[in-house]
Amino acid sequence: MTTIVGGIGTSHVPAVGAAIDNGKQDEPYWRPYFDKIQPAREWMAAEQPDVCIIVYNDHASAFSLRLIPTFALGVAAEFQPADEGYGPRQVPAAQGHPELAWHLAESLIGDEFDITIVNEMDVDHGLTVPLSVMYGEPSVWPCRVIPICVNVIQYPPPSGKRCLSLGRAIRRALDSYQGSDADGLRVAVFGTGGMSHQLQGERAGLVNVDFDTAFMDELIAEPDAGCLRPHTEYIREAGSEGIELVMWFVMRGVLDDEVDEVFRMNHVPTSNTSNGLLILQNARAA
């Protein structure tokens, strides 16, 4: 059976990727952020997950208005960095885990989550920046990656409740995995996006750290209540792009009802965003 090493909630700000790619971490703007996330990187290095399931959203890269799957699962052996309009990031391709990904597809659909199955999909900053956040700049990513892409660009995104339920269905799939490497396979799950931010309109630049703190508290302690937050409340309180936070509920659903908070960080700003990073683990028996 697989081992769930933990859940990671993280923003996926493109400027963080650019800062890493262009060696700007020591600049005064960036140093405080990178100092704050260092304990999370140390946790990741110690835990060494074999597979990271990364729940993220595509930003008009692999998908467009032509085709808008609400939930899509990448089953390929490899995912290349996408050209989002200014050239692809110079980071390693993500190596997939087709055997586990296909098991997820079969289990999820059997569990009434009719997820879209994707064989060819470039991955944009939504997936690659979280890897950079947790791993820095390795020549190859030290884990296999299963992308789960959620539409949060075309309104309406799925509800927080649906995302939490998807996470729980993923957990059932992980618990029933009997693939060739299943014994002791270490799996981490990322919920990415957020925190409060608004990129568009006259209200661009909106940040609400009180919301971000309350969101994390509720995600940890009362996910079944927190997942009921209406979309309009996210937009009003956390900005039009803050609604990405529904994806953190997928991560939460993979974990046990009781979790321990291992690490929490919130930093304002990175680019136009309140940047959050949270690590949760299933609660240890007292």
Binding site: A60, G85, I153, Y155, L199, Q200, E202, R203
Partner: protein, 149 residues
């Protein structure tokens, strides 16, 4: 336009719902085409000729040519799509955020460093933004101040 939405009273926010998606489909798919390096080069070489390949309204076409970042949203653009156009010009998200909210990119960046745009005063249309005090009462307005004495 069918049906008001409960987010329509959020100021300065263009929720990319089905209404806007219908309006902006071709505009956004033009932006999407800029994901390909060859298309970026063709666009930079002759913007007007490149735009002839897309079924844009005159208003959308003008907003592209003039880099009217707020206007692009108002005619159906989505920020993740229109930002591809901004990237061609070498603009940052702070530059575009500033242009949409009426300040320079530098001023916008400083606002972010100072903690971002506050939510208080920006939740609903008609709220007084923080830092902008309500009109002082006119001399004729009865004051409650005397009641405390």
């Amino acid at each position: 336009m069918a049906g008001a939405r409960d987010y329509d009273d959020i100021p300065g926010t263009y929720v990319f719902d089905g209404r806007r998606s219908q309006q902006g489909y071709h505009l956004n798919m033009f932006c999407m085409s800029l994901n390909a390096e060859a298309n970026r080069e063709r666009f930079k070489a002759d913007e007007e000729a490149y735009l002839d390949g897309f079924d844009l309204t005159p208003q959308q076409r003008l907003a592209v040519i003039e880099r009217d970042w707020l206007g692009l949203l108002q005619c159906g653009g989505n920020i993740y799509y229109t930002f591809k156009l901004a990237a061609i010009d070498g603009l940052s998200m702070q530059d575009v955020g500033g242009a949409m909210s009426g300040v320079s990119g530098g001023e916008f960046n400083q606002m972010m460093i100072d903690g971002g745009r506050p939510v208080d005063g920006n939740r609903r249309t008609g709220e007084a933004p923080v830092g902008q005090m309500p009109e002082p009462p006119s001399p004729e307005t009865p004051s409650t101040a005397g009641h405390s004495s």
